[in-house]
């Protein structure tokens, strides 16, 4: 009985992961370039995906309080994708949910840093 339940749970997790991977903006192993909005293309990188989500969902003041946990990188910084969670970030000001993408910076002063970025800040470069 316990084995059966575990199998079902594992199946559900696989299904959820498969769905997340399928809908995600980037996939593990992809090489990407970071570039945000045209108004200000520099990218905020977060030390946890929870803070990434909190930053976009919270009020301005709360978001400002979270800033010490963020790293600001110049637009065009290269990175490798190590994880992606679809529809993870929501905001009353977004038209729809956004992905959270885990990356390792591969260029610039922050090279080697592992952080979370918003899916829309990630631009495909090439596959490794």
């Amino acid at each position: 009985m316990t084995r059966k339940a575990l199998l079902i749970l594992a199946g559900c997790m696989i299904a959820l992961t498969a769905r997340a991977v399928a809908d995600c903006r980037a996939h593990r192993g992809e090489h990407v370039v970071l570039y945000s909005t045209t108004d200000d293309p520099s990218v905020l990188m977060w030390d946890s995906r929870a803070r990434l989500r909190a930053y976009h969902a919270a009020s301005f003041d709360v978001a400002q309080a979270l800033l010490p946990h963020a790293l600001l990188v110049a637009p065009g910084t290269h990175a490798d994708v190590i994880s992606c969670i679809a529809d993870y970030v929501t905001s009353p000001l977004f038209t729809g949910p956004e992905s959270a993408v885990g990356v390792i910076v591969t260029s610039g002063p922050s090279r080697g840093a592992a952080r979370w970025v918003l899916g829309s800040d990630v631009r495909m470069f090439k596959k490794r």
Binding site: T37, D39, D40, S42, L44, L72, L93, T95
Partner: protein, 456 residues
């Protein structure tokens, strides 16, 4: 002849009221729709203006940031003045958009714009001012803040754009709905109005047909019952009749000359209240009843008194009354014995002037008062004129009646021959009354040619 006068008038008034109501509602609906659509277009126009202003606001905000960036890169004071100019422009534009959103009650967009303006002000105080003060010190925290502001402003503006676009879409939909509703409403009203017009027209046609039938029938009856010129010895007789305005039904004027014996004739003229078939039939009743009574009674007052009794018993109409003149004429010596029940248009024309014969009692059908007979001796050359009140009561354009005096003048100026005189009086009434002749006119003229032995 299915509809009585009351039904006719009520029906016509009701249909006219329905038509006017339909017309009024249709016109009012058109104006309301026009006003509503005009308001919607005005709102749409304001929303579009707000969208244009918002883009201008964004341009000014980017100008502010670019001025800051330019200064940080070059330290050129020109960028400081550009920054101040952009800031002032931004504040003015923000106030204008805010006022428009408030006026249009777009509270959601207004709230977002307020947030956006607060963000910009905070950006100035916490990012721009420190950077202008210390341009060489580029702290990462300040850069992150700048990014934070930028992100929030971008997102806020996107939300405002969406809110305005949504409102614009809603208004466009509302305008379309309004136009659809208005088209359906107008089509319905045109249909209702058209149907009512058809019903109205049909009803009017039916009424006109009925009235014409009744009028024609009444004329036939009156022609049948009214006496034409019955010859009397030693007399020249003329008569004329004028129907009132054509749309009115024919009235109840009657006159009669009836020879009771070789040297005695009955002269009768009467005006019976009412119009139409009832009055026409009553004229026949009056004529033959008076003849019958006159064959038995020798005094006009007695004839009137007896007829008054008969009238009240025969006709159960409390509103019916009649003025009547009854004369018994000796056609040999031309002595006239007469009685007049409220009938005052009896005249005698003599070479030296016109005399009006007195009324000798009240109108018939009103009260049971005694009547009085009087005598008047006619002479050769005299003309006895019996007329109804259509002669004395005809009004001119100013509303003035001809009256006894005017009638007497008209009689004095009329032709010598009895028929010519009768025709002249009708002509006079036509000229004076024009299209305002409201009452019928009957004229009977008896000119005494000579006295002598009865040669009938």
């Amino acid at each position: 002849m299915t509809n009585g006068p009351f039904v006719r008038v009520t029906g016509t008034l009701l249909l006219t009221a329905f038509l006017l109501l339909s017309l009024g509602v249709a016109i009012q609906g058109t104006f309301e729709t026009r006003s509503s659509i005009s308001n919607t277009f005005a709102r749409q126009s304001q929303i579009q203006q707000a969208q244009i202003d918002l883009e201008e606001l964004l341009r000014l905000q980017i100008d502010e940031e670019n001025s800051l960036r330019g200064y940080l890169l070059t330290r050129d004071p020109f960028y400081k003045s550009e920054y101040r100019s952009a800031s002032a422009g931004y504040d003015a534009k923000e106030s204008a958009i805010h006022a428009t959103l408030q006026e249009r009650q777009l509270t959601g967009a207004g709230q977002l714009l307020g947030d956006y303006a607060n963000l910009q002000r905070e950006w100035r105080s916490s990012v721009a001012v420190p950077l202008f003060a210390h341009p060489r010190v580029r702290l990462e925290e300040l850069d992150k803040r700048n990014k934070l502001f930028s992100d929030y402003e971008t997102m806020t503006v996107a939300a405002i754009r969406r809110a305005l676009a949504q409102t614009g879409d809603d208004l466009a939909r509302s305008t379309q709905d309004e136009l659809d509703r208005s088209s359906y409403a107008r089509a319905s009203w045109v249909l209702v109005f058209g149907l009512l017009a058809i019903v109205f027209n049909a009803y009017r046609s039916q009424l006109n047909r009925e009235l014409e039938e009744e009028r024609s029938f009444t004329r036939i009856l009156q022609r049948a019952f009214r006496s034409e010129s019955t010859p009397l010895p030693n007399c020249d007789i003329g008569s004329a009749y004028l129907s009132a305005t054509s749309h009115l039904a024919v009235g109840g004027d009657v006159f009669d000359i009836y020879r009771l014996s070789e040297d005695r004739a009955l002269l009768l003229i009467a005006d019976i209240s009412g119009k139409g078939v009832d009055a026409a039939v009553l004229t026949a009743f009056v004529k033959f009843m008076v003849r019958a009574i006159a064959l038995r009674d020798s005094a006009p007052a007695a004839i009137l008194a007896e007829f008054n009794v008969v009238l009240s018993k025969a006709v159960e109409d409390p509103y019916l009354f009649a003025s009547m003149f009854v004369g018994l004429l000796d056609t040999n010596r031309f002595g006239l014995t007469y009685a007049s029940a409220g009938h005052d248009a009896i005249f005698v024309r003599r070479p030296e002037g016109v005399i009006a014969l007195d009324v000798t009692g009240p109108v018939l059908g009103v009260m049971d008062e005694p009547f009085e007979s009087r005598t008047f001796d006619l002479r050769p050359g005299d003309t006895l004129v019996l007329a109804t009140d259509g002669l004395t009561e005809v009004r001119n354009r100013a509303g003035e009646q001809l009256g006894d005096k005017g009638a007497m003048e008209a009689i004095a100026q009329g032709g010598t021959e009895a028929q010519t005189l009768a025709d002249d009086l009708v002509k006079k009434v036509r000229e004076r009354g024009g299209s305002r002749v409201r009452d019928d006119l009957a004229v009977l003229a008896i000119r005494v040619l000579r006295t002598g032995s009865n040669d009938a």
